[in-house]
């Protein structure tokens, strides 16, 4: 029993949900699967707004992008052929590593993103895919790049709005991707997770994205490391240069699971492993 909750609302439309969020302000939060918010309910929340009955569980393919509704579950994403086609299934991998079946069936992409836990698995993949988030607000919809969405530890730019969907621009067929996660056990949260996408043309790296999670207070792209790879061949000496930059750049958090030094080492190991796999 969670005693602090006083109300549970079932809005009939997204507009009504946004209206209720606006009325209740910081005392209300949307709930979808609940696997993030039920065990970690912020102390000031008195009201939950059910967003699972608003038709936001969809994966829609358009010519230029994929649109994923905020309440699409991790299971739906993990088994979706459309998601599997995106950069070698980088997002699919992030949705099925380390999730017990019961959680994967309920947890939603929106919850994983809005929860903004630094250890969440989908945000690095979404960063590597240049995703954009669409937030429904009282005065209409706002679309912003996902790297501008994560503000700080468990704090996002969603504000008084409600996350409606995530859009992923369709990568070219040259883009390869990989998601790697290292945890203490298969179902534990990540000590470090990493997503990389890169465009390879004639063996030379074009557009590069390297995103790390469980390292800082928010998931982050490593722009300096990305620049090292740009217009270079994906070969051993270049990969080692990237690994050096990654281990120098990161400023890892410390918690009961791992020290900063261990996480820094892991970030380098996962980067090397990811790039070698993409090169093969």
């Amino acid at each position: 029993m969670i005693h602090q909750l006083e109300e549970f609302l079932y809005p009939q439309s997204l507009a009504e949900a946004v209206q209720k969020k606006h009325e209740y302000g910081e005392a209300a939060a949307p709930i979808a699967g609940g696997t993030e918010i039920v065990p970690n309910l912020p102390p000031d929340i008195r009201c939950l707004i059910d967003v699972t009955r608003l038709g936001l569980d969809y994966i829609e393919e358009e010519a230029e992008r994929l649109r994923i509704g905020a309440t699409t579950t991790m299971h739906q994403l993990a088994v979706s052929p459309a998601i599997a086609k995106l950069a070698n299934g980088v997002l699919s991998s992030s949705c099925c590593q380390g999730w017990p079946t019961e959680v994967r069936n309920t947890a939603t992409l929106g919850g994983n993103v809005v929860g903004a836990g630094p250890f969440a698995d989908s945000p690095p993949a979404l960063l590597a895919l240049d995703a954009e988030v669409v937030v429904a607000r009282l005065d209409g919809e706002e679309k912003l790049p996902i790297q501008e969405f994560f503000l700080d530890y468990r704090r996002t730019a969603v504000g008084q709005g409600i996350l409606k969907e995530i859009q992923i621009p369709r990568p070219s067929s040259q883009v390869r991707g990989i998601f790697l996660k290292f945890g203490r056990t298969q179902v534990d949260q990540a000590l470090v997770n990493l997503a990389v996408t890169l465009e390879l043309e004639s063996g030379v790296c074009g557009k590069v994205r390297i995103a790390l999670g469980a390292i800082g207070r928010t998931p982050q792209r490593l722009l300096e490391a990305e620049r090292v790879l740009l217009e270079k061949p994906l070969q051993a000496d270049v990969i080692e240069d990237v690994v050096c930059v990654v281990t120098e750049l990161v400023d890892p958090v410390i918690d009961l699971r791992a020290s900063a030094d261990y996480r820094r080492e892991l970030a380098g190991v996962l980067t090397r492993r990811a790039l070698l796999q993409l090169a093969s």
């Binding site: 029993m1 005693h3 549970f8 696997t35 939950l48 059910d50 590593q97 069936n105 309920t106």
Partner: protein, 77 residues
């Protein structure tokens, strides 16, 4: 608040608090399937299940091999 559930085909009504967990309402050691998918009733509020179909099944039935096959081998350093 009042919620309506259909548990193993039988419709029932429960008076719950907004913060009541689904596991507190069902009080079962069986696996809980909501709308055809196994869920964790201790991570879900009863209010979330309002109007939904629930099935209770033994755990051995609830973990088919094809579900497990989605989880790749863990990465090792």
């Amino acid at each position: 608040m009042q919620i309506e559930l259909v548990v193993d085909g039988r419709a029932c009504t429960h008076e719950v608090e907004p913060g009541t967990l689904l596991s507190e309402v069902l009080q079962t050691e069986l696996a809980v399937w909501l709308e055809g998918r196994m869920v964790s009733a201790s991570l879900m509020l009863a209010a979330q299940a309002h109007g939904r179909q629930i099935e209770l099944k033994p755990f051995v039935q609830a973990a088919p091999l094809q579900e497990n096959s989605l989880v790749p081998e863990p990465t090792r350093c």
